[in-house]
Each structure stands twice: as C-alpha cells, then as structure tokens.
C-alpha cells in the first residue's frame, strides 16, 4: 500500500516536472474557439487563421525568441459558461486570451485582471475597457464597438453629403439580442441626440436567428433610410437574404465588422450585390505575408482546417489578431530581457505596442493589418477607424479609405463609464502620467 502511494507520488511529481518543463519550453497562447454550434460559420475561419499564423511562425522562425508558440484550442461553442471553463482549464502559464465573444470577454475581465493575464478583445468586448487606468489587463485595439458605430454614421453622413443630412433620417438597427448586440446602443443614443435622426431597434433572439420574418415585415412598412446590423452567427446571412427578398436597396444595408464575412453574403450571391460592411483588416491573400503562409503552412499540409478559409475576411482578422500578439511577445521578450515571459510581461509590452506603417510593411501586412499605437491610458489605440467593404456578388472589395471614428464624442463616454465601473467595483484608477 505504502509502495503504491509512493509510486503515485513519484508519478505525480514526474508529471509536475514534465508539465513545468513543457510550459517553460513554450509560449502558451490558448485559443478559445467555436468550431461547432450555431456560430461555427464565423468561428471556424477565426480559429483557423489564428492557428495557421502561429504554425507559420513556429515553422519559419522556430517560434519567438527561440521558444515555440503553443496554441491549445478549447471549444466554447460561443457560450459564456464554457468560455470561462476553458479559461480556467488553460490559464496555467497563459500569455494572453482572445475569446471572440463579448459575453465571454465580460465574464473574464475580473478573473484575468486578478490572474494578471491580458485579454485582447480586438474589435469586440467591453468598449470602456479602452480606459487603461481602470482596465489595466484588457485591450481592445485597433477599435471598439462604440467608435465603429460613430465611423459607420460618419460614412453615412459622407454619402448623404454632410452629417447635417442625417437629421430626420430613419435607421433600422438589427442586432443579436446578446451583450454583443447591445454594446453600441448607448453610442447610438448619443448619435441620435447629436444628429437628429431616429432609429428603431430590432433584436434577434439567439434561439431563432433564422426566423426574422416579423422584423422584415416591419422594415418593409417603415422603409428606413439605412439599416445597420450588429449580427453574428446565422442571423447575418438570414438578414441579408430577407433584405433582398423585400427588395431593400442593399447599398443602404451596412453590417458591422462581425457581419463582414463572405459567409454572410454568399448564400444570397448576386442578389446581395451592394451589401456593405465595416472592417479593419484587408481581404484576400495579396500580401507578402501570405507567401510564407503558403510555403510553411498550406503547401506543407499543416493548415488547421482544409485551407479553404485562407484570405477570407474573418480568417484574415484572426491572422491580424495573431500578428499583434506575435509583435507583443517579441516586445515583451525585449523589455523583460528573457524569452520565457509571463502574462504580466505581456501586459507591460501591450501598453507599449507601437506599430507604424514601416513596421507593418516589414511584417508583410501592409493593407492587411492597421498600424496601432497603444498607451497606458488608451488601450484602444490612437486612431480608431474603419474601412467599408462592398459585396460584388461573389466577393468583398474595400471601397473606401479609412473613415475615422468620432473619438471626441466617445472618449468622454468611455471615461465616464469606466469611472462608474471603478466606483462600483471599488477600483482606484491607476495613474498613467
């Protein structure tokens, strides 16, 4: 009996040592994914792009600073409880997380701050986490939902011939009835105050994303001047199809950047021509980075999926996400003077991340990844902006230059909401001066 206990103890010790060695020898970047369930259409390209980028880095450069990057996937099904469970299961030695879910992001903010692991919610999650004095471990560069909303309305204003032309216009806001879809509503209310348009809210229940008939009946009746969609999962393709069914002018239908994937418009094909969506990353594979991706990943048979998603909007977005993390790891290693960095080192580096046009060119990602400059106080980056892409009938093409967000309006809102959060949580905002 004693021998058995001793054996078990020795086994456990050996496993601990092995696990420590494994952790020490790798850079642990867990990937919370949703390859299954109703949101898989968006989740698969995101998971593939993230994994393929780090496969390329491991194959081409032998990892980062001599250490291989370990991307361990955990399936969340886009469910908040499972996302939190995945985090708890994989957080040992983790450097950063990006769960691609606003619900999961909200649930992880306090846990990750306590664990000193940065949460990079690139273009999603809690907008007010852009205030780094209150949310030191949460980052949402290169832009947030609130700023995206203002940029979309700036685009509309430009198209109408001036922001004053928005007065009296009617907008339909279709959104997933989920923390993600509700996130921009405070900004929309402010925009209404500022520009004098009206908007009708049309929530789509997650349980019946493909049943939107009553919404489109109302839209047929109210005939809005624009439709703005904050969609995810099957609700997006359903909305686009229903819009074409009622013969809505697709050029007045603008999706947010999570409603910008090819899978949104492909089912409707040619009839969806003109559908527009915001984005902050390039589309296609016409970037030098893809030469390496092809050489070290696709041609080597090491792609995460079947390779068919490469170059699509959401795949590229995940590549951009991975590239930001890659650059942050390099910076963290440089700043700490060691290869085997911690979450805390990552946080410090992320606050110093400054990628200008020359850096992006060196990464082979000009036009694919937006330059960004993060600071201690501003975790969203200095120049939040969007591009507008348009569906040609078979693919998306970017049709505008960068459209700046209205940060003069959103920043005070961000700071006041963050201050309220700090008060509620008993947090003393840190000084960034």
């Amino acid at each position: 009996m004693k021998l058995k206990a001793l054996g078990m103890l020795a086994g456990a010790a050996a496993m601990s040592i092995a696990s420590f060695a494994a952790n020490a020898a790798e850079l642990n970047v867990p990937s919370l994914v949703y390859r299954t369930g109703p949101y898989a259409s968006g989740g698969i390209p995101l998971a593939d792009g993230f994994a393929d980028y780090f496969t390329m880095i491991n194959e081409r450069d032998g990892g980062i600073g001599g250490l291989k990057v370990k991307v361990e996937e955990c399936e969340t099904g886009y469910k908040t409880d499972r996302g939190v469970e995945c985090y708890d299961r994989t957080k040992e030695g983790a450097l950063v997380y990006g769960p691609y879910s606003t619900g999961i992001a909200y649930a992880l903010i306090e846990k990750m701050t306590a664990d000193k692991i940065p949460l990079l919610t690139m273009g999603y999650g809690r907008t007010t986490a852009a205030d780094g004095t209150v949310f030191p471990y949460v980052f949402n560069f290169p832009s947030t939902y609130w700023n995206q909303a203002t940029a979309i309305f700036n685009f509309m204003g430009g198209e109408l011939g001036g922001m004053d032309q928005l007065k009296g216009k009617r907008v339909a806001y279709i959104y997933l009835d989920h923390p993600y879809g509700k996130e921009p509503i405070p900004t929309l209310d402010k925009l209404v105050e500022k520009y004098g348009f009206t908007y009708d809210k049309y929530p789509v229940a997650p349980a019946s994303m493909t049943e939107q008939k009553s919404i489109w009946l109302q839209i047929r009746k109210t005939k809005p001047d624009y439709i703005v969609m904050w969609g995810w999962g099957a609700m997006r393709e359903t909305a686009v199809k229903e819009a074409t069914n009622i013969r809505y002018d697709m050029s007045k239908f603008i999706g947010n950047w999570w409603s910008a994937g090819e899978e949104v418009a492909t089912p409707t094909g040619e009839r969806a021509k003109g559908y527009r969506a915001a984005t902050f990353n390039g589309v296609g594979m016409d970037y030098p980075l893809y030469d390496d991706m092809k050489k070290y990943v696709y041609d080597a048979g090491k792609a995460s999926g079947d390779g068919s998603k490469a170059g699509t909007v959401l795949y590229n977005r995940a590549v951009v996400n991975a590239a930001y993390i890659h650059e942050t790891i390099k910076l963290a290693q440089e700043m700490s003077g060691k290869a085997d960095i911690s979450g805390e080192d990552m946080q410090k580096a992320m606050e110093q991340l400054d990628l200008d046009a020359a850096d992006v060119k060196a990464m082979g990602m000009t036009g694919l990844l937006p330059p960004v400059k993060v600071t201690c106080a501003n975790h969203e980056g200095q120049n939040p902006a969007v591009l507008i892409q348009e569906w040609t009938g078979s693919e998306f093409k970017i049709v505008t230059d960068w459209i700046p967000a209205d940060t003069a309006m959103t920043r005070p809102l961000i700071e006041s909401d963050a201050a309220a959060y700090a008060k509620e949580q008993g947090i003393t905002p840190r000084s960034c001066s």
Binding site: R35, T36, G37, P38, A40, S41, G43, I44, D177, D200, K201, Y202, P203, V204, A205, A207, S208, M209, T210, E211, K213, S214, I215, L217, Q218, R220, K221, G233, A234, E237, T238, K241, N245, I246, R247, E263, T266, P267
Partner: protein
C-alpha cells in the same frame, strides 16, 4: 399611460389603417407556421407511437440535412444523395431501436426522454465529426424568389413548403389509415400492451416510426437548409416546434399543422403590432403564452386525445 396606449390603442389603429399590411403579416405568419409544422410533425409521429417526447428531433433535422448536402458535395447526383440519406435515416432508426430503445422497454417515459437527449448530443457530434462544422450551401433548385400580389409579398419557398407539408400530411394520413403497418402504429399508440397481446411487434413498430420521423426530418431539413444553408443553428428550430405541439396536441398530425398556423400567425401579429411596446423580440415567448392560453381551455391541446382514466 403611453404604455397602455401602445397596448390597447396603437396596434388596432395600425391594423385598421393598413389592412393590406395586416394581411401580409398574417399571411407571412401562416407561412412561417407551416415551416414550424414540418418540424413538429416528426415529434408527433414518435410521441404517437411511443409516448416519448423525442428531444433529438431538431438534431435529426440537422443530421439529415447534413448528410444530404454532404453527399451532394461529395459528388453524388441529387437523387442518389436523397436515396442514400433516406437509407441513412432508416439505418439510424434501426440503430436507435437496437442500441437505445430495446434496452429501455417498460421503463418510465422520462427515462426514454432522457435517452433522446443523449441521442441528440450523439447525433450532433457525429454529424460534426463526419461533415465538419462549416456552413454548407444547399441548392437543389427549389424556388427562392418572391411574388408580389398587389403590395403583399409572398415568398415562393414558403408556398412550396406549404405544398410539401400538405402532401406530407396527406401521405401520412393515408399511411396510418390504409396500410397494415399504419394500423399497427395506431394500435400501438392506443395501447402498447393490447397491441403486443395481439401480436404486433413493438420493436418493429418503433423502427418504422423512427424511420418515418427521420424522413420527415429530412424534408424539414431540406426546406430550411435551402433557405438559409445547412448549419448547426438548424437544430435550434426544434424550439419553434414546441409551442406548436403544446397547442396542436402531441398526438395529432392535423394538430401539428393547425397549431403551426395559429402559432405562426399569432407570433408575427404580436411581434409586429405589440413588439415595440415590450422592447421587441416578444415572439419567442409569445408563442408559448399563446399555447398556454389554449391549454387553459383544452389541456390536451386542440386536437390531442383526451385521456380519461378510471380511478
């Protein structure tokens, strides 16, 4: 006061002033209801024959559609893929009877219900393992445009679905009424033990009924999949069938159709005319409220069998 006005005055004024729009909403709702009925039919078949609420019916819709579209993508002609999928659904019925149901004969209904939850998870995982989690287009030439009658919009796909649902109901009614197996099914539905005592093989009947439910699931999967592609959200359409079943009765095929029509029209009218007063998205719960209101007056559902037990 404004809230009360939006509940008791505004909707009726809108209906009165725009009767064409009201007609379109009701018509659209009826069409949606037919789509729900297609899913509800599968539930009814299994409940009728075994008294089991098949939690896996929604996933069976997904599984059938996944196999169908997967086989087409693999290069099979549509007709061959259809026949192969039918065979798969029949094989699935065999497997379910052999592996799950046979071992649970004489168990409480709740045990069988729990088993169907297991079947649902298994099928979802199996479908994902074989065909992947990607969204798959299903283009088999079903009508996909709209008609305008005056200013009223009618979707061709839904008219087609209504025709298919009508044909299915007729076919199933004939099957139940005039075939030997159909009569046996009705006997089993009435009384398991009495049916067994006159030599009707329960296991055989279960295979038949699960196979027919599988075929109904395939039809529903093709209809929904053609509209919005085949994707994992298909399994959640079962939720839309629940109020239909509560309203129409769990044992009535015409009940599934009539229930679908009432739920479809009711929820659309509620959402369009009263939704704004409650902040929108009320059709999710309104369908259940509507079904519950009917239950106050007919606890067995509109067409369900009234069970009278001797005390």
């Amino acid at each position: 006061m404004e809230f009360l006005y939006s509940i008791f005055v505004t909707p009726f004024v809108e209906m009165w002033t725009a009767p064409e729009f009201l007609a379109e909403v009701v018509l659209g709702g009826l069409m949606s209801g037919i789509m729900y009925s297609l899913v509800a039919l599968g539930f009814v078949l299994i409940f009728k024959a075994s008294g089991v609420f098949n939690f896996a019916q929604g996933v069976m819709v997904l599984f059938a559609a996944l196999n169908f579209v997967g086989l087409i993508d693999a290069g099979l002609p549509i007709v061959v893929a259809l026949i192969a999928t039918i065979l798969i659904m029949v094989a699935l019925a065999f497997a379910i009877e052999r592996v799950v149901l046979r071992n649970l004969v004489n168990q409480e209904h709740i045990i069988l219900f729990m088993a169907t939850i297991g079947i649902a998870y298994f099928l979802e995982g199996l479908g994902e393992m074989i065909w992947g989690g990607d969204v798959r287009p299903l283009n088999i030439g079903l009508p996909d445009d709209v008609w305008f009658v005056g200013d009223i919009l009618i979707q061709q796909s839904e008219v087609f679905a209504a025709a298919v649902a009508g044909s299915l109901v007729i076919a199933l009614s004939l099957f139940f009424q005039y075939t030997r197996t159909g009569r046996a099914l009705r006997a089993v539905a009435d009384d398991h033990q009495a049916a067994l005592s006159v030599g009707i093989p329960l296991n055989h009947i279960w295979i038949v009924v699960w196979a027919v439910a599988g075929l109904v699931a395939l039809v529903a999967g093709i209809m929904w999949g053609s509209k919005f592609w085949v994707q994992f959200s298909l399994s959640t359409i079962a939720l839309k069938a629940l109020p239909v079943l509560i309203l129409g009765g769990f044992t009535s095929i015409p009940g599934a159709i009539i229930g679908g029509l009432i739920i479809g029209a009711g929820e659309k009218v509620a959402e369009v005319f009263w939704g704004a007063a409650y902040g929108g998205a009320i059709e999710e719960w309104f369908a259940y409220v509507l079904a519950l209101i009917f239950l106050f007056f007919r606890p067995q559902g509109l067409f369900g069998e009234k069970i009278i037990e001797r005390v």
